[in-house]
């Protein structure tokens, strides 16, 4: 069911329910009020009836007293004269009097005379008294209880013939004097006529009922109210007779005007109510419709449309500034977001589609690749077979190579062993056996260790070599009565991992012996050669000095002695140079270096050569040395040896001219250059210059050259290089001269001055 219908239903139902309940409530309240009022009216009407009856009884009383307080009546009762009856009593007078009966009683209750008429009919007869009335006349009856002269007994008596209003008074004189002569009772039936006069009087319907009435339930009340319908209402009351024993029911009825007015009012109200309700309904409905339902429907319709057309571009905004409008705007915003999202999704979809395409593409490519790979695999199979063939071939070659290698290793004069990383002997050669005197014994690493242990801890060495990755060599180890040289190195695999150890052991006993021999030789040579030479030289010198001056005219002897002396000097020099050169070659010489002022050395050398220079009439010049010339780090005697060699050579090979010596700093060295104007050196000889036993000579040796040994430059070179310097021929030209220079390292602490 739609909202509209629901709303309408709800509103209508609510309104109806509301109205109905209000109406019912109101009507209940109102009607009950009316009924209360009605009740009160009934009660008052009943009262009125009672009053009327009472009044009538009073009238009757009055009438009775008129007749009872009459002398005539007084007399009558006593004498019962006919006259009285004839003149006063008669139907006419009854009718005039408007009583139904008149009964004169004597004191004993005997009826003197009675008159009964039927007032409603035209009969003129004097009727008999109702039989059931007679008992009332007996003495002792209430009717006749008149204690005093003006007492009065009146009320109602219920007879078969109907309800009788009676009044009983004692008959007394007109003056009201007694004694009571008798009694007078007047009765008036509550007949139709009376009732109708009553009705007319009180404007009510009156009914007298002698029987029980069914629908009446008096309960506690003396009256009851009957509402048989909406038009009439009856009040029913018991009216007791004079004795208060019997009663008759009198019923007064009257139109329920009040009630009906009430009902009418209510109806009016109701209709008013309905109208209001309808108006309310309409208004509410209208308002609801306009403010909510319609807009809701519109909004719903718009959203429906969006949903059905799937088109988010439509606006769902409902005009207004209330929550609804805001809701619609929010929805609109959400729709906008949705639109955007939708577009993004569409975008994404497009991208995804593209992706899907490219993936499909890639799939195709993959398939191609797959096929290609399969092809390649096939080719690989073929290749594999080829390779297997090749491998077989190579393996064969390799094993041949291996054999060759093994043979080569075995033929090595050096002991060769390969150890595994866990120090097992993998491979060894026969030379090793020889070195260790392994005969038929088991060759093992333990044996190796054991034999070496006195001078060498193989285990420790293996560990060290393995960890550092460096090789280790021991130049001299004692193995029993042998000397061995040992070399141990790790064998590093492709990835830098140590995959084994290589052990080389060389028997250097012979070599050592040779060395020793050589050393001994040198020691001996030094001493044994020099001593005789010194003796020769010394003695020759002394002969020269002490003997020769005493021998005249023997020039031959003089010359012989001189030559012998010179020869011995020269020979000593040669021996010295030889020994020197040999020691230098062996590398046995350790230089004791100290910072030296090279200038001083040069000065000393030039001083030593002064004599020769003067003799040969040469010039020797030392150019100005820089004041801040650093000291050189060299061994004093050796550097002097070099300088002496260079300057000496210069002097030696110069016949005329001079020698210039320059000293200067050159980079991180001090350079001393010696330039001479000597014979020069040819290209050919320049090659042989610093080599052993070369003497670059173009000219015949002069006497001055007797001291040259041919080792000078060779030794100088070794000395210079040994001390960290160098020596060189800068330039030379035959006939013009030569320039030699030596570079010496600067002493450390001065190099900072650079």
């Amino acid at each position: 069911m739609s909202l509209r219908k629901k709303t309408i239903l709800v509103v209508v139902l609510t309104t109806i329910v509301l109205m109905v309940s209000v109406y019912l409530l109101t009507s209940k309240i109102l009607l009950s009020e009316f009924i209360h009022v009605e009740d009160r009216e009934v009660v008052s009407n009943i009262k009125r009836l009672e009053d009327v009856i009472d009044a009538e009884i009073q009238v009757l009383n009055t009438k009775t007293s008129d007749w009872s307080r009459w002398d005539d009546s007084y007399r009558f009762v006593t004498d019962r004269n006919q006259e009285f009856i004839d003149s006063n009593l008669g139907v006419e007078s009854m009718k005039n009097l408007e009583v139904n009966m008149m009964v004169f009683l004597d004191l004993s209750g005997q009826v003197v005379t009675s008159q009964r008429v039927d007032l409603e009919s035209d009969q003129d007869e004097n009727l008999d008294l109702p039989t059931d009335l007679l008992p009332w006349f007996e003495s002792g009856s209430l009717l006749l209880e008149h204690p005093d002269l003006d007492s009065n007994k009146s009320g109602v008596i219920i007879l078969e013939s109907g309800v009788l209003l009676v009044s009983s008074q004692p008959i007394v004189t007109s003056l009201g004097e007694g004694p009571i002569a008798g009694y007078l009772i007047l009765g008036r039936f509550l007949d139709e006529g009376l009732l109708s006069s009553f009705s007319g009087l009180i404007q009510l319907d009156i009914e007298v009922i002698l029987d029980e009435v069914e629908s009446v339930d008096f309960g506690d009340k003396p009256y009851d109210i009957l509402r048989p319908n909406d038009e009439v209402i009856f009040g029913v009351t018991k009216i007791y007779d004079i004795k208060n024993e019997k009663y008759f029911i009198s019923k007064v009825g009257f139109p329920r005007t009040i009630y009906q007015e009430g009902v009418k009012a209510l109806k009016l109200f109701a209709s008013f109510y309905v109208v209001i309700g309808l108006v309310f309904l309409v208004v509410v409905g209208f308002v609801l419709e306009k403010m909510i339902i319609k807009r809701l429907t519109v909004l719903g319709g718009k959203v429906d449309k969006i949903r059905s057309t799937r088109n988010l571009d439509q606006s769902v905004i409902v005009e207004g500034s209330d929550e609804f409008a805001r809701l619609s705007r929010n929805i609109d915003d959400m729709l906008t977001d949705l639109r955007v999202a939708q577009k993004m999704v569409e975008e994404r979809d497009r991208e995804i589609a593209k992706e899907a395409d490219s993936i499909a593409e890639k799939n195709k490519t993959l398939e191609h690749t797959q096929r290609a790979v399969l092809n390649v695999l096939e080719d690989l199979e073929v290749e594999k077979k080829k390779i297997e063939e090749t491998v077989k071939l190579r393996t064969l070659e390799l094993s041949e190579e291996k054999s060759k290698l093994e043979a080569s290793i075995n033929s090595l004069p050096v002991g060769f062993a390969i150890l595994s990383p866990d120090r097992k002997l993998l491979l060894h050669n026969s030379s090793l056996n020889t070195i260790f005197d392994w005969g038929g014994e088991d060759v093992s690493i333990e044996s190796l260790k054991e034999k070496l242990i006195e001078s060498f801890d193989l285990d420790a060495a293996l560990t060290k070599v393995r960890e550092s990755g460096d090789s280790m060599s021991k130049e001299e180890l004692v193995l029993g009565n042998k000397f061995i040289k040992l070399f141990l190195s790790p064998v590093v695999g492709v990835r830098g991992k140590v995959i084994g150890h290589l052990l080389l052991i060389e028997d250097i006993t012979e070599h050592k012996m040779l060395e020793r021999t050589r050393e001994e030789f040198f020691a001996i040579a030094s001493h044994e050669l020099r001593t005789p030479l010194t003796a020769i030289r010394g003695n020759m010198a002394m002969i020269k000095d002490f003997i020769l001056p005493n021998i005249d005219n023997n020039p031959d002897l003089i010359e012989m002695i001189n030559d012998s002396y010179d020869g011995s000097v020269r020979l000593i020099a040669i021996v010295n140079d030889f020994l020197d050169a040999s020691r230098l070659e062996q590398g046995k010489i350790v230089f004791k270096k100290e910072p030296i002022d090279i200038g001083t050395i040069i000065d000393e050398v030039t001083k030593d050569l002064e004599g020769v220079v003067l003799e040969k009439k040469l010039t020797l010049k030392i150019e100005d040395t820089p004041a801040d010339l650093p000291k050189v780090l060299v061994e004093r005697d050796r550097v002097k040896q070099i300088i002496f060699n260079l300057i000496g050579n210069a002097v030696h090979y110069t016949r005329e001219g001079g020698i210039i010596i320059k000293i200067f700093k050159d980079g991180n060295k001090v350079k001393i250059s010696v330039t001479d104007t000597g014979v020069g050196i040819s290209e050919k000889n320049q090659q042989r210059l610093f080599k052993k036993f070369q003497q670059a000579q173009e000219e015949v040796l002069t006497r001055d050259m007797t001291k040259s040994t041919g080792l000078g430059l060779y030794i100088s070179k070794m000395l210079a290089e040994g001390m960290g310097g160098s020596i060189s021929l800068d330039n030379s030209e035959v006939g013009k001269g030569s320039t030699f220079s030596v570079n010496l390292p600067i002493a450390e602490d001065q190099s900072n001055k650079v």
């Binding site: 005789p532 010194t534 010394g538 002490f546 020197d580």
Partner: protein, 142 residues
């Protein structure tokens, strides 16, 4: 006369230096090995002015003799010149550190020069009446 005491095991050398000093007017006493050298030196009434001591000697090396001399209170004041045919600087330093005043390589000096050097020492010694300055004299090879 000034006495020179030469301790040298090689007869060639011994004779040579003896002549050199004698012909230069010095008294010379000789010994031919370390032991004899020490004993004779100890026994001398007049101690020599200078001792020439060969290093390379059998039985007792010159270094040991030098040590003994320098340890002996009667002898330690005598200047000792160490003689050798060895050219090592180590030996020179050792000799000098043991108390020699001079270290000469025999093959490098003519006897005349040796005499000159000894003269210098004597004059220096006489002048100062003390242990003269320690000198190292090695001649360069030519």
């Amino acid at each position: 006369m000034t006495k020179i005491y030469i301790v040298e095991d090689d007869p060639l050398m011994s004779r040579m230096y003896e002549k050199a000093f004698r012909l230069n007017g010095y008294d010379v006493e000789l010994a031919f090995d370390g032991e004899e050298g020490l004993k004779k030196l100890g026994d001398m009434k007049d101690k020599p002015t200078v001792v020439l001591l060969d290093i390379m000697m059998p039985k007792m090396s010159g270094f040991d003799v030098l040590k003994e001399i320098k340890d002996d209170k009667h002898l330690k004041k005598i200047p000792v010149v160490a003689l050798t045919n060895l050219a090592g600087k180590d030996d020179a330093e050792k000799a000098l550190s043991l108390g020699a005043v001079l270290y000469l390589v025999k093959s490098q000096y003519d006897p005349k020069e040796v005499v000159e050097k000894v003269k210098e020492i004597i004059s220096g010694y006489e002048r100062d009446d003390d242990v003269p300055e320690v000198k190292v004299a090695t001649k360069d090879s030519k």
